[in-house]
């Protein structure tokens, strides 16, 4: 079983469109949506949930009013301004609290606890394609984390092992932070989806420095490649210098938007046009891995 992660650095380059199209042209695979902050693979794959599990994220401070001695030290040291006393009692605003635990350390009365927060749910689902999807939904105000990504990937790998599947396709999140590091961890190949804008190139360089550090081989898809031939050429030069395979450059095409609006993949939207293209991309990737 091999794990392929699709990331972009910059958001909005067409990462999920590429992921969904690859889901259509591949077989013996399971999909995992690790872009939990803005999960959208489910819009296309239309999952029927088979199992669900509550997910617990970081901790938040809670003050026990019965034990509190109203000294106010917690309010003074809180770096996030999360502690106030609107009604004569010190209270923690859960939206502002970062769960650092400093207040608990200094509270002379031992009135502050740090319970784990339920931040959402993880799901394993059947989809309208013949593959399963592991995904998650966060509650309002909760954020994605390395922990949640690790959980989604672990469930996906387990499901793939149980079903003797060959591929785990992971839709990663933008950026280079903790969730992205966690999505790269243990991956066999990385598909970088970028676009010819300066921020597309810049974020590609940043996310590649992370990927390279992990020693994971990568290939790049330049989407909307004809919109800015100058920057496209810069991206091409970067890929050559870094020994990253250029898998495809796709011209700007409004089919991306049209397919997404209809909740289907490009391959389903116009099979004649897109099926051969993504089949070629998929075979390029699988060849790199065998």
């Amino acid at each position: 079983m091999k794990e392929i992660v699709i990331i972009s650095g910059k958001g909005g380059t067409g990462k999920t469109s590429v992921t969904a199209a690859l889901a259509c042209v591949s077989r013996s695979r399971i999909m995992a949506d690790c872009d939990v902050d803005a999960a959208d693979l489910h819009l296309i794959l239309q999952p029927r949930i088979l199992s669900r599990e509550d997910f617990y994220g970081g901790v938040k401070a809670v003050i026990d009013p019965a034990a509190c001695v109203n000294c106010g030290q917690c309010g003074v040291i809180c770096r996030f301004g999360a502690i106030s006393h609107p009604n004569g009692n010190y209270e923690v605003d859960p939206l502002d609290c970062e769960g650092c635990g400093y207040c608990q350390q200094i509270c002379p009365a031992g009135a502050i606890s740090l319970p784990q927060q339920k931040v959402g749910q993880c799901y394993i689902s059947d989809t309208r394609l013949d593959c399963r999807l592991v995904h998650a939904k966060l509650d309002i105000g909760a954020d994605n984390s390395g922990k949640l990504v690790a959980k989604v990937k672990r469930d996906a790998r387990q499901t793939a092992e149980d079903g003797q599947l060959d591929w785990v396709l992971v839709d990663g999140s933008p950026g280079i932070g903790c969730p992205v590091i966690s999505s790269l961890s243990g991956a066999d190949f990385v598909i970088l989806v970028t676009e010819p804008s300066l921020s597309g190139l810049h974020d590609l360089e940043r996310v590649w420095s992370l990927t390279r550090n992990f020693g994971i081989p990568g290939g790049c898809v330049i989407n909307k490649a004809d919109l800015n031939p100058g920057v496209s050429a810069l991206i091409g030069g970067f890929l050559a210098r870094e020994n990253i395979a250029l898998i495809d450059h796709i011209p700007y095409d409004e089919d991306f938007t049209r397919a997404m609006t209809q909740g289907i993949s490009l391959v389903e939207y116009d099979p004649q046009k897109w099926q051969p293209r993504f089949a070629r991309i998929w075979s390029h990737i699988t060849k790199e891995l065998t």
Partner: protein, 113 residues
Amino acid sequence: MKIAFTATGTSWDATIDPRFGRTDYLVFYDEDKDELTSVDNREIVNVTHGAGPKTAQLIYDHAPQILITGNGPGGNAAAILNRTQLRIYLGAGGMTLRQAYTAYKENKLPQGG
């Protein structure tokens, strides 16, 4: 020489966990004593952020000279480990500990960090 492995189990037949921060176990092999010991790191699933630095701390506490792993530590963990004398060997993901140790002895693992 004391050698650390990131692993999915605790014996020579366990496979190398390619992940650093979120590895299930750290296994230590003391060549002088010919002794295999391990630390259960599975509690790390409860860590929301900063798994890498936490595991780096664990490595630091056990003071091995060599680390054999898969993808290698991320930026924050690497910044900590680079302050130590630890030498890091990568690319052992999926091998058994025994295979990885042999590959290291035969200079077949790329050095990272």
